[in-house]
């Protein structure tokens, strides 16, 4: 599962509220689609939990279902308390899990 974290705007100071955009490459299969060749249902495969942590403290937890678009975007606000590490852990219903991190580095 490829992932991408973006902090917007790119430069910010401690105390600012920024947006954290998290994207993952994931098929988000609903379990309702059929394989065109065999006619068999394609099993559901979707991200079901995403956690945002700052310096290992939980900021936001998400419970997700298959209605999110393929290669989903999850965007939240975050009030920058200071420098630290932002970690995003995404897990899907098949147990596949990925941890992505980015550094929070406020200016000024």
């Amino acid at each position: 599962m490829k992932t991408l974290i973006k902090i917007k705007p790119k430069t910010y100071a401690a105390g600012d509220i920024v947006k954290i955009d998290f994207m993952a490459m994931h098929p988000m299969e609903t379990g309702m689609r059929k394989n065109k060749d065999t006619g068999a249902l394609i099993p559901a495969e979707y991200i079901d939990e995403v956690k945002f942590l700052f310096n290992d403290t939980l900021v936001t937890k998400m419970v997700i279902w298959e209605s999110l678009s393929v290669n989903p975007l999850m965007s939240i606000s975050f009030k920058v308390p200071g420098a630290g590490t932002l970690k995003v852990i995404a897990k899907d219903n098949k147990g596949q899990s990925v941890e992505s991190t980015t550094q929070i580095t406020p200016k000024g």
Partner: protein, 257 residues
């Protein structure tokens, strides 16, 4: 009796028409703005990043520039001029074909045009020219002149059981008319951002698609035989369509419906 029912049908139609006139049929500016924000978080960015890695492993920009006979720092300008005639190929080629040439020249496995790796790598290579203006020169040499002429012929040729051509939906005469709830675009207009913004993430397919592949999908939906990738005809079509956007900025990857 019969004329009565026809009158009734006409009245019904008129009523339907007036009902639809009240209803909004396409996206408002606010709707479009929401979709424009998708460009900021385009899933295809992850594909382009992977394409950069794959391209680096296969050839690298230095080797690629050398094969093309240009300085590495001139790559952005040079790439903005594709499809173009390149001497080592002795013909007009697309960026994907130059990647194949570079791979062959360095005795690496040559990626197929339709492979996922190639879509990612060609998107990366085109993204090197991001911010440049599309600078295709269809009068640069006799090869380009010939391809431009062929491209126009392919664009206007009515094919298939329904006798459709690209021009049926993309002639300048019908810009703004609606095809299944979507206004038909002017392929040359800045705001359409056509050729200079492919490869693009197609929302309906949830994946990144190249311009030639998109044209094939168009043919498929119009019940025309698909012109094969890499063929002279599809390269010519790309030349013709790209020339319409000459001068418009390149921005890859974009997001399309």
């Amino acid at each position: 009796m019969r004329s009565l029912s026809i009158t009734a049908a006409l009245v019904c139609l008129a009523l339907l028409n007036s009902a639809f006139a009240e209803e909004k049929l396409s996206m408002s500016d606010a709707d479009k703005a929401m979709y424009a924000e998708l460009l900021d978080n385009n899933p295809a960015e992850m594909d382009v990043a992977e394409g950069e890695q794959l391209f680096g492993e296969l050839i690298g920009t230095a080797g690629y520039a050398k094969m093309l006979g240009v300085k590495e720092k001139d790559l952005p300008k040079y790439i903005a001029g594709f499809p173009r005639y390149v001497e080592p190929a002795k013909k007009v080629v697309t960026l994907a074909q130059t990647i194949q040439m570079a791979a062959a020249a360095s005795e690496k496995p040559v990626p197929k045009l339709e492979s996922k790796e190639m879509v990612k790598m060609s998107a990366y290579v085109k993204s090197i020219a991001n911010g440049q203006k599309t600078s295709i020169d269809v009068k640069a040499n006799k090869h380009m002149v010939e391809m431009m002429k062929l491209g126009q012929e392919v664009f206007e040729e009515r094919r298939g059981g329904r006798g459709l051509s690209c021009n049926n939906c993309h002639s300048m005469d019908i810009v703004g008319q609606r095809l299944r709830m979507q206004p038909l675009p002017d392929l040359g207009a800045k705001e359409t951002a056509a050729a200079g913004t492919w490869p693009a993430y197609r929302m309906t397919q949830s994946q990144m698609v190249t311009l030639d592949k998109r044209m094939q999908q168009c043919m498929k939906n119009a019940l025309l035989a698909e012109i094969p990738l890499g063929s002279k005809e599809i390269v010519a079509l790309e030349v013709y369509v790209t020339n319409k956007t000459k001068g418009n900025a390149i921005s890859v990857p974009s997001v399309k419906r």
